[in-house]
């Protein structure tokens, strides 16, 4: 059984999430080149972490669930890194004459 989280915590998390939404909207209007996507994804990742940790109660879940959630996202990261690593590194090596 999880302990009860106070309403104040939920409201504060909601406020942060809303502020982050406006921040990401505002930052997207400014041209920062490559950093636009970096900032947008960093904010999205931060928002996701808050939702998982507080709203989804992983904070108070047992260690097995925590480990499992972490492992799931870690596996997702491996999946994305390997896929993108394949696509982005194509063309780095010149093709040999005999291929």
């Amino acid at each position: 059984m999880n302990p009860v989280t106070p309403v104040r915590t939920y409201v504060i998390i909601w406020l942060i999430l809303t502020i982050m939404t406006f921040t990401t909207y505002a930052v997207a209007q400014i041209d920062l080149g490559q950093f636009n996507i970096v900032i947008a994804l960093a904010i999205a990742f931060f928002k996701m972490s808050l939702v998982i940790w507080f709203f989804m109660h992983v904070r108070t879940d047992n260690p097995l669930t925590k480990l499992f959630v972490f492992a799931g996202f870690f596996w997702m990261a491996i999946f994305l890194v390997f896929t993108l690593g394949d696509y982005f590194s194509r063309g780095w090596m010149p093709l040999g004459k005999f291929w």
């Binding site: 009860v4 406006f22 709203f55 109660h57 669930t65």
Partner: protein
């Protein structure tokens, strides 16, 4: 009961991780195509209205808050508050779908629906016409699958609401509320990533 609660939560997380893989595949494909055609994606994204996107993000975040409060009410045996928070959550879920419907309608009017037998015209920037179709297909599939998840979520919430009215939940047994809350928050998380990736590219004004 504590052990039941833990196993149910754990089981729900197993399901949610399969959902992460499901959406992750689409996010991965999106990233690959976006890296292939960055200019076309940025120029096409101008057809997505970021105000709608931001509004919908805010709506979903509020619904997540009310969902968390509903779970809390069930945990504290506040039956009336549980029902009210569930209704508010469903209301915001419906708001989201209505706004999404308006957006889809705008795309239809703009002739930006490149699905089978579609409604498509991209004469404004013919050099990007093919790549623009790719982005719009990603857009409709990703937001469409998200919308289906929202509709399923509304169905789950209706069931939970009916169960709550019958007084099925107590501080000792409120597992269904908690578990469906997890689902609702997960759908919110998917949107948190869809919003910047679909709406917020290509709206920059150079000021630096």
């Amino acid at each position: 009961m504590g052990q039941q609660f833990d196993s149910a939560t754990f089981g729900m997380w197993v399901f949610l991780l399969t959902e992460i893989m499901f959406f992750g595949g689409m996010f991965g494909a999106y990233t690959v195509y976006r890296s292939m055609y960055p200019e076309a994606f940025a120029s096409t994204s101008a057809y997505m209205n970021p105000l709608y996107g931001a509004l919908n993000t805010a709506v979903l975040i509020v619904s997540s808050l009310t969902m968390a409060l509903a779970v809390r009410s069930a945990h504290l045996d506040k039956q009336k508050a549980l029902q009210i928070f569930l209704l508010i959550t469903m209301f915001f879920g419906l708001c989201f779908l209505v706004i999404k419907g308006f957006e889809y309608h705008e795309h239809w009017v703009d002739m930006k629906v490149p699905l089978i037998g579609g409604h498509w015209n991209y004469s404004e920037a013919p050099q990007f016409a093919h790549q623009a179709q790719i982005l719009f297909i990603f857009y409709f599939f990703m937001t469409g699958f998200h919308a289906i998840h929202m509709i399923v979520g509304l169905g789950i919430m209706t069931t939970i609401f009916i169960m709550a009215r019958k007084g099925r939940f107590s501080p000792i047994y409120y597992t269904p509320v908690e578990v469906s809350g997890l689902y609702w928050h997960f759908v919110d998380i998917v949107w948190i990533f869809l919003f910047p990736l679909l709406y917020l590219i290509g709206h920059t004004r150079t000021i630096l």
